[in-house]
């Protein structure tokens, strides 16, 4: 108990820091989420309530308090055991952030007993994170240990009534998703019918998806009938694992004893499994030729010859009718490398989906939610074939599917389409455009006169930050570090110089030479994992490491929608391999031609990694749209805000 209590104390400031740092943020998390700027929490809170039919769910908070007697005890242990792989006991013992959050959850149930549970869950969070929690902690804490001992019993007991209640409402399935704050736990409950359907489809999916999903290549086609399965299969395939979404579902339908087993996030496809690869290949639209000189260490990742698909694809252009032209276009752009960068790719994809949704017409005798989800899934798998998804794309797909799933059944098709259309708009605006603006504001406060800033590659947010600080009249110098083979930094350099910033340019090998004069390192990121690992363009880790060695603070600018609850320790297990050919040639250096016919040499492999993972201890600060947080606070943001804002 003591350990846990002490563990809470350091958390609070971090959580609060989020709000505290945000300029103009009123710390009104209890009403609208953490930031004044991100207005999605109220919207997402309200819209489900507004759309919903079931009287049970009209005021979500109300519902929460009503059902909490039932749902809470059910939800807490389940969520704890299903959603986060580490066992509950471990976390209790360790007293990490998770433990404390779990504690929050469990103590909620104890509070309910006292009848003092607040209506708004977020209020509860807030209150508990300020002093009040401490007073209720003893009882809550003990409850939680008791809970831990017999979760199955509690769950079972609670489940029955919950199921009964849910049967009554037709839209109950949606309802669970819509509970704004505690949605994750609540989602676990589904109607029995739904559960059974899902279970069956999952079984089918497992049989089939274990095979086909290995490719990132058209798993969706495997599933003709059951849409949830499709969704799941494709999710499993996504590099960007929607492990929460998937495990949510999984966890929901299974009885808790099985949960632990099911906990394991959906396996990413491993390309060294021949069976699966074969199956996946048969389904693929894009049929890439396999690279001949594959790197042994990366057999688990797709290694294809690049530049060969496009002609083939174009020849198939008209056979691709299931794929919407807008999506197709984006896919080809990915393939060609015309759209790069996490944000750009994500926005392009969402815009394409918007188009697709606009043109979508629901076939008769099908429900919109399922059919559209299936459609989207097939688009997504097409995009995966073109290029593996980035984390940000995975997250936004998750968002979209969530929105679709939550569409009330009664809404007419056009209304639903409009709603989705505006949802996507809102997502792009809030999560990407506005978030960037907030980040830029925050980051600019860290730039002082006389600073020498170092950046690596080309991150849009970092560029915007520097330009903004320049506009503010700060006097600073920029060091642009670049690396092969993309030389993204040259584009950044050009843009900064054009704006009149004083720049130095160098390559990554010289980073330790230049680091002496640098006072701040600003880096972008493709994703941040919940163990604080920063997943970004390859070389970021090197730069951060050298900066760390020279005691230069490293600031990572990353929008919160790119955060992911996955954990990763190295850059090998999951990564993306680029075209090896670009390594053998050096642009503008015709004299470097030693490896012109490298493919003929059996012993030679060329490895073009796209990403690497920066350990969290190299990172001094992460600047997100929720403020500036240390890397240890990433799981907090992933858990709390994600759930608040999206679902």
């Amino acid at each position: 108990m003591e350990a846990r209590r002490t563990s809470r104390i350091p958390i609070d400031p971090k959580v609060r820091q989020v709000g505290f740092f945000a300029p103009g943020a009123l710390r009104d998390r209890s009403q609208s989420g953490p930031l004044g700027l991100s207005s999605s929490p109220p919207v997402s809170n309200i819209s489900p309530a507004g759309n919903s039919l079931s009287p049970v769910m009209i005021p979500p908070p109300r519902h929460a308090s009503d059902n909490f007697v039932l749902s809470r005890p059910l939800a807490v242990p389940v969520s704890a055991s299903t959603l986060r792989p580490p066992a509950v006991e471990d976390r209790m013992a360790v007293g990490s952030y998770d433990a404390s959050e779990l504690l929050l959850g469990t103590s909620a149930s104890s509070r309910i007993g006292d009848g003092e549970f607040s209506e708004d869950y977020s209020v509860f969070f807030r209150r508990s994170s300020s002093g009040k929690f401490a007073s209720s902690l003893p009882s809550g804490g003990f409850d939680s240990t008791a809970m831990k001992i017999n979760p199955p019993a509690v769950v079972r007991a609670a489940k029955k009534p919950a199921a009964v209640i849910e049967k009554s409402g037709g839209a109950v399935a949606e309802m669970q998703n819509e509970l704004p704050t505690s949605s994750k736990p609540l989602k676990e409950k589904t109607t029995k019918a739904e559960r059974r359907a899902l279970q069956e489809s999952q079984r089918a999916a497992k049989a089939a998806a274990k095979g086909p999903n290995s490719g990132g290549n058209k798993p969706a086609t495997a599933s003709g009938a059951a849409t949830p399965m499709k969704e799941k299969a494709s999710k499993a395939v996504k590099q960007v694992p929607s492990s929460v979404a998937a495990s949510d579902k999984k966890g929901g339908e299974r009885i808790p004893e099985k949960d632990k087993k099911k906990d394991v996030p959906p396996p990413r496809m491993q390309f060294d499994d021949k069976n699966r690869v074969e199956k996946a290949k048969r389904r693929a639209v894009v049929k890439p030729t396999e690279a001949r000189n594959r790197v042994e260490l990366f057999r688990h990742l797709p290694q294809y010859e690049h530049g060969t698909q496009l002609p083939k694809l174009e020849s198939k252009f008209f056979q691709l009718d299931p794929v919407h032209p807008a999506v197709q276009k984006v896919g080809f752009q990915y393939l060609e490398g015309d759209i790069v960068g996490g944000n750009a790719r994500c926005i392009a994809m969402l815009r394409a989906f918007q188009e697709a949704i606009k043109d979508y017409s629901m076939p008769p005798e099908k429900t919109l939610a399922r059919d559209l989800t299936a459609k989207i899934s097939s688009y997504v798998s097409f995009l995966i074939e073109c290029r593996p998804l980035s984390i940000s794309m995975g997250n936004s797909i998750r968002f979209l599917k969530n929105r679709i799933a939550k569409l009330p059944l009664t809404v007419s098709e056009s209304e639903a389409k409009d709603a989705l259309y505006s949802d996507i708009d809102r997502f792009i605006n809030e999560k990407i455009v506005l978030a960037d603006k907030v980040i830029v504001r925050h980051a600019a406060t860290k730039i002082r006169d006389g600073d020498v800033l170092l950046t690596y590659g080309f991150s849009c947010v970092v560029e915007m930050t520097m330009l903004y600080a320049h506009e503010l009249g700060r006097q600073f110098r920029v060091v642009v570090v670049d690396s092969r083979p993309k030389f993204e930094g040259q584009a950044l350099l050009r843009r900064l110089v054009a704006k009149g910033l004083s720049c130095s340019y160098t390559h990554i090998n010289a980073v330790s030479y230049i680091m002496h004069e640098v006072t701040r390192v600003f880096l972008g990121a493709a994703s941040i994992f919940s163990n604080g690992t920063v997943y970004s363009r390859v070389g970021t880790a090197c730069v951060a490491m050298v900066a760390h060695a020279y005691r230069v603070p490293v600031l990572i600018c990353c929008e919160a929608y790119k955060f992911h609850e996955r954990v990763q320790l190295d850059s090998i297990c999951s990564n993306e391999l680029g075209d090896p050919d670009v390594i053998s040639k050096v642009a503008g250096r015709a004299d470097v031609n030693y490896l012109d016919n490298w493919r003929d040499k059996e012993n030679l492999q060329l490895l073009n990694l796209i990403y690497d993972a920066t350990p969290s201890d190299y990172v001094s600060m992460i600047i997100t749209d929720y403020g500036m947080v240390p890397p240890t606070s990433v799981p907090v943001i992933v858990r709390e805000y994600r759930e608040h804002l999206w679902i």
């Binding site: 340019y505 160098t506 390594i583 012993n603 990694l609 690497d612």
Partner: protein, 389 residues
């Protein structure tokens, strides 16, 4: 590296001209200064000059000790001898042994003496002053100086040979350090590393090599090609992927530009990053270096003082960026700087092991090795040109 060798050879070949030890030393110093000033970053040149000076002193000393009767000890050499004797009694013994060895092979003397003038005609004029001086002095003490000259030539010859064969001697140790299925990472290209790896391969070890390409010179491409030609499993990676890959690497083996007295390494650019990554993952960082790369200087701010900035054109295409380059013309100072250093300094704490032609050594042992190869007097002299930078 071959350039260094060539230059060092030239500097050595001039030696036989000078007969009298003191004059010889002066002459070599003069030449050495010039050579060093010509390119202060090429530390190996200075090292070789010092080595030669040291050899002269040693030989002179050994002669003097041999002729204990002390018939004709010149004042100059006498003083030096005293200093030397106090400093390195052990060394002088070794030098005597070396001299004894060299006398076992008399035939080479004649050919060397005849060869030298031709090849030495090329280098700088500064040696000529020393020559005449030395020759005039040598007239009166012909018997002794002839012996001295002979010994010195022998010893320098040996030095040349040592340097020429240091690759082989280093690569002989390869099997002791590389085990089956090892994964080795290297950056850029170094002949020593190449031969080291190939030697292990010839001994039927099978292992894999990751080669970081070493931008902007991309020597890694050459190395990869050479290794593949020898049948080694080679994977070429970008420099930026070093951190990602190092966790799967068992050993980092790199060449060096120079090894400093404190055990630090001046190495091709990018190696500091590699060394840091290796330290992070507890991967041994092994530096291969011939003893001629051992430099008796203690580095001060070596990243700046002992570095060389190369042309920006290696990084940026001038044509492409000419518009950016112009931006600065308005307000005097250019907005765009391009930094392209040639070398990195790897501090001794990041180096796990040095493998030299005399065996493996810790970074902390380097200062002692230096005492073996150089005489303390020369360090001071050489610092003059070095401080000029």
């Amino acid at each position: 590296m071959t350039a260094e060798l060539l230059r060092s050879v030239i500097s050595q070949q001039r030696v036989p001209y000078n007969n009298q030890a003191g004059a010889l030393i002066d002459a070599i110093k003069a030449v050495g200064e010039q050579l060093i000033a010509a390119n202060p970053v090429e530390l190996a040149v200075g090292n070789i000059v010092r080595r030669v000076l040291h050899i002269i002193r040693e030989e002179d000393l050994s002669l003097a000790t041999a002729a204990v009767a002390g018939l004709n000890l010149s004042a100059v050499s006498d003083d030096e001898d005293d200093g030397e004797r106090e400093d390195h009694p052990v060394l002088s013994a070794a030098a005597v042994a070396a001299a004894a060895r060299s006398t076992l092979r008399p035939p080479s003397l004649q050919t060397l003496l005849e060869d030298m003038p031709d090849s030495a005609a090329v280098p700088q004029s500064s040696s000529s002053g020393g020559d005449s001086e030395g020759k005039s002095k040598s007239a009166d003490k012909s018997s002794r100086s002839r012996k001295l000259k002979h010994d010195i030539i022998e010893a320098v010859n040996e030095l040349i040979q040592d340097i020429a064969t240091c690759h082989e001697q280093i690569s002989e140790q390869a099997v002791e350090h590389i085990h089956q299925n090892e994964v080795i990472l290297t950056l850029g290209r170094s002949r020593t590393v190449m031969e080291f790896l190939c030697a292990a391969k010839e001994k039927k070890r099978s292992f894999r090599v990751f080669v970081a390409e070493g931008a902007p010179r991309y020597q890694g491409h050459v190395l990869a090609k050479e290794l593949v030609a020898r049948g080694l499993q080679t994977t070429l990676i970008t420099d930026s992927a070093v951190f990602a890959m190092i966790s799967r690497v068992n050993m980092v083996i790199v060449g060096a530009h120079a090894v400093m007295a404190n055990g630090g390494v001046i190495a091709p650019v990018g190696l500091n990053m590699v060394a840091l990554a290796a330290q992070r993952h507890a991967v041994p960082f092994v530096v291969l270096a011939g003893t001629h790369k051992l430099c008796p200087l203690y580095p001060h701010n070596p990243e700046v003082l002992l570095n060389e900035l190369k042309s920006p054109s290696e990084l940026l295409d001038f044509g492409e960026f000419s518009d950016c380059m112009d931006f600065g013309s308005g307000n005097g100072s250019p907005l765009l700087h391009v930094v392209n250093p040639a070398f990195d300094y790897v501090p001794p704490k990041l180096v796990s092991l040095f493998i030299t032609d005399t065996g493996g050594h810790n970074p902390s042992y380097m200062y002692r090795l230096i005492a073996d190869y150089y005489s303390a007097d020369d360090l001071v002299v050489q610092r003059r040109p070095a401080s000029g930078n």
